[in-house]
Symmetry: D2
Subunit: 304 residues, 4 copies
């Protein structure tokens, strides 16, 4: 959870009016656990006539850290967006808070990285189109040219950046340049079959969500369905997690499984897995975009 500066980028975006949905603010807070936080925050919102729609909180006792998310209606609020930070700063200081505020009419910009498989990409594109994700998919990057037609049919810029061990550094620099230029808020690895190098993470710190086609921590790395077949498991899984430098070790956001049997060949596992991957990735992405995910050491809090 980084500090509130990042929201300034968002305020320059074109506003999207979702007809029928009132505009709401989402305030996320992390601070040392101390009595009275909820009372202070909710009293602050009450003072400015902001009706609370939803609040979630979690106290991580081991770390002594308190996490809170408050969603409130902006329709009657007596505090402008520009004045919010100044008004809230004394509370933030008193409680040593890290905080951010988001507005539902400023949807996030999303980049999708893919290779040759299209099922997760199609799924994200269709969910965006149907209004399930409060986000715009602003570009697609791939190390293969195979999915260019999909990008074109949805009118999304497509960048073909082939990669090999020889050019990895420069390719990743191009990826970062694109993410920066498009002011990307969230990067999704939708079956992008490349491991990002440690260097990448030194130069890029924005959130990245991956879909791994196993029930982590089982079957880390390559060909998890082959590994699953060989071990003879009776369920296959999918895991969506934040990407960190260590392969398949980042904080898990969502997981699900599907029953399999001895009748299923590796090909069947791959086919059945596609349905899982789509649903699990979408669930994680949606939670992130609604600011319901907080990372706490290597675990996530996913507010409902």
């Amino acid at each position: 959870m980084t500090i509130a500066l990042s929201r300034n980028i968002l305020t320059n975006r074109t506003e999207i009016a979702r007809p029928g949905e009132p505009v709401s603010g989402i305030l996320t807070i992390a601070c040392p656990d101390k009595i009275g936080v909820i009372a202070r925050v909710t009293s602050f919102l009450f003072r400015y006539n902001a009706n609370i729609i939803d609040t979630n909180q979690h106290n991580n006792a081991e770390r002594g850290t308190f996490y809170m998310r408050v969603k409130f209606d902006l329709s009657g609020i007596e505090l402008s967006r520009t004045d919010f930070a100044a008004a809230f700063s004394s509370i933030a200081r008193d409680y040593d808070m890290q905080w951010q505020i988001f507005y539902s009419d400023k949807p996030a910009s999303v980049a999708v990285l893919v290779s040759r498989q299209d099922h997760c990409l199609y799924d994200l594109l269709l969910r965006q189109k149907s209004g399930e994700l409060n986000a715009g998919i602003v570009l697609i990057i791939s190390n293969s040219d195979a999915l260019r037609p999909v990008a074109r049919s949805f009118d999304i810029p497509f960048y073909y950046l082939p990669v090999s061990s020889a050019n990895r550094e420069s390719q990743e620099a191009q990826v970062i340049e694109l993410l920066t230029r498009y002011r990307v808020d969230l990067t999704i690895l939708a079956r992008y079959m490349q491991v990002l190098s440690p260097a990448f993470f030194q130069h890029y710190t924005g959130p990245i969500i991956n879909i791994h086609h196993s029930f982590l921590p089982a079957f880390v790395g390559n060909q998890p369905y082959h590994q699953a077949y060989r071990r003879g498991v009776k369920m296959i899984g999918s895991t969506s997690h934040y990407v960190t430098e260590e392969l398949d070790q980042g904080p898990i956001i969502a997981q699900d499984v599907y029953q399999v049997s001895h009748r299923d060949s590796i090909k069947d596992l791959i086919r059945k897995g596609r349905d899982l991957e789509r649903v699990v990735l979408a669930r994680a992405v949606r939670a992130h975009l609604e600011h319901r995910v907080v990372t706490c050491a290597n675990r996530t809090i996913v507010f409902e």
Copy 2:
């Protein structure tokens, strides 16, 4: 949600100290939706130095009603149990609240009604024994004598009250007399194969949870597994709900399903269903005992 009087019964109970678990209070509130409720309630608790462990709220927009549950630590609180109501009354009045307070060291008294099937009864007894339910099972009532040995092996009073169309009225009066005498907080119909008459509900208003062996509203009434078999469904279900005068129409608390196939005979459905019934009933009972269930018209809010 009834008003706070009912809690007085609880305060007379023997206190149970769960070793290692700090004692907590749970405050449940229902009131017309109005801005500022959360701020007022949490500020009240803060003033008396009650650290909030968890809060849940839900706003039913259709009915304009706001529901809230706050769990707080009693260890540092500067307000005695006896003074709580007086201190809280001005807030309650301002917001026209219905409210109740519960203390984790006052476990509920539970009655279980059964017929001849033992799987749900055993399940509840074992869960209580293992400490899963913050409750005491204080009596078992049955219209059959078959499960008396089970009751005996767990040292629970067992009442055999046979019933027929001829004696229904007097049998139900005996049931009510027992529930009252044992100061029962929750009655569980654990595969009790009798329909309670309208008269029963005129004379008894305490909460009753039933397990119905179908995915309601499908297969209301008798022999739901037979009905399910005949319709050729591919999943069977179980539903735990509050009992109301209208058969199988009460507010649903928990549901779950299990996959079946053409290979399953009615006997197989019954066998598979037993596993579902146990788990679904226990989930509903646990939610109720933790004061996480609120009834709102014919729907329930089940806080997590």
Copy 3:
């Protein structure tokens, strides 16, 4: 299960060679239950050197009917497709069988009927494209023009046939004319928001699979998600079934459910339901296309 004549239509189709997959035959049988059927059928295949890949059978004791499906390798078989019927006829006669034979290199022709919602249509198109369905989607029919662009992007003929109570008879005649002209083997109602009239079923007898957005038999008819919301269920479901004259009463092929809570609005149920509908419909369609589904009165046998 109709008799073997229908396969003649298939033999005129262009053969599809699935690279890497050996061609197989699938023989489906229904007959009065009598000892020795399996021995006779498998000995017949053995005599002609057909290696059995898989067999399934089911004996419906109530009806005294035996159902069997045998999949066998065609690579070493010493019996031509044209001679199969003559060779098998004496067994078929002895056991009073209804039977059909299918070949994996003769994929079925599928028609999809839609209205305005695109998620099931996209799902079927993408599954076909990825080779999950051994079928060709040969035409799309709609009572709305909204999804024409989707059809175009997949190069599938699209027929816009608006319908009202005034023109229902002639519109349905046009639908039947198209299904006949395209020699359609399977018709899929992929959220086609029209009820087919009794007259339709008098003139068309080919198999039709529908996806109903509830856990049947709960919430038959209109707006099942609204019905589910009002009843306060804790899970929503989807049901894929063969369409018969009686609305939502046909034999069920596949069902699944998804957990919901009091937090979910009707809009949320609709969104979550889309994921269910896609998966459940695809599962039913795939089972049908692999000749794993047998209808037995109003129930289905779905071989695995």
Copy 4:
């Protein structure tokens, strides 16, 4: 799958007549894959007037091995149990089969090994009592005396055999002596918190089923719920598998999972896990007792 000798032990058992259930035979076969096996086996049964109730087969292409299970009605059979082996031997020789035959009126004898946790033990005892398992639980062995009262209340012999690193060898010898003396067909480790030593497996070769409280291969070894909590998974699992010398690496028979969240403490995972453990273990045990499980290298075939 071992050869047919072991069945001789069974034939000496007291026959159990399950009222209403006709007696059936179950023939299990493993042999090199060769055309015509099914025809030969089913024709053999037909010749002796044995009506086939169910057949399952699986061809493991990688190993070139064919597995078959045939369940047939004994009511009209014209071949005595004692003559079966002689009559079947020529087929068995021709196809180089390993085979076994079981009779439904000869239920298996089961030993349960436990430590201090009672939930799996109770579950097995109750399932046996309700007739779900075609088996008799003939003894309970424990390294703790805690569950003796449970054994007593179900009238099952209970052996308390404490174990430490010092006496492991002699304790395991006693366990083997008991399993042999009671002619145990299946040993169940129902949360037996001891690892059997390599020496044990040298002296005992009967089947042993364990329940491991994780989704294997994730979280092998000690305290899997603690491991799961630390990794921050969003589902916990249970795995039932045959025990081999290598800890938690044996062939998996059944697995299932349960959703968890950041709200769940380790204590909650343990509580939720108990429900999983019971169901998954019972599913595996039932499959084994119905002779539906075949081990093939380190994977299982579980016929439905």
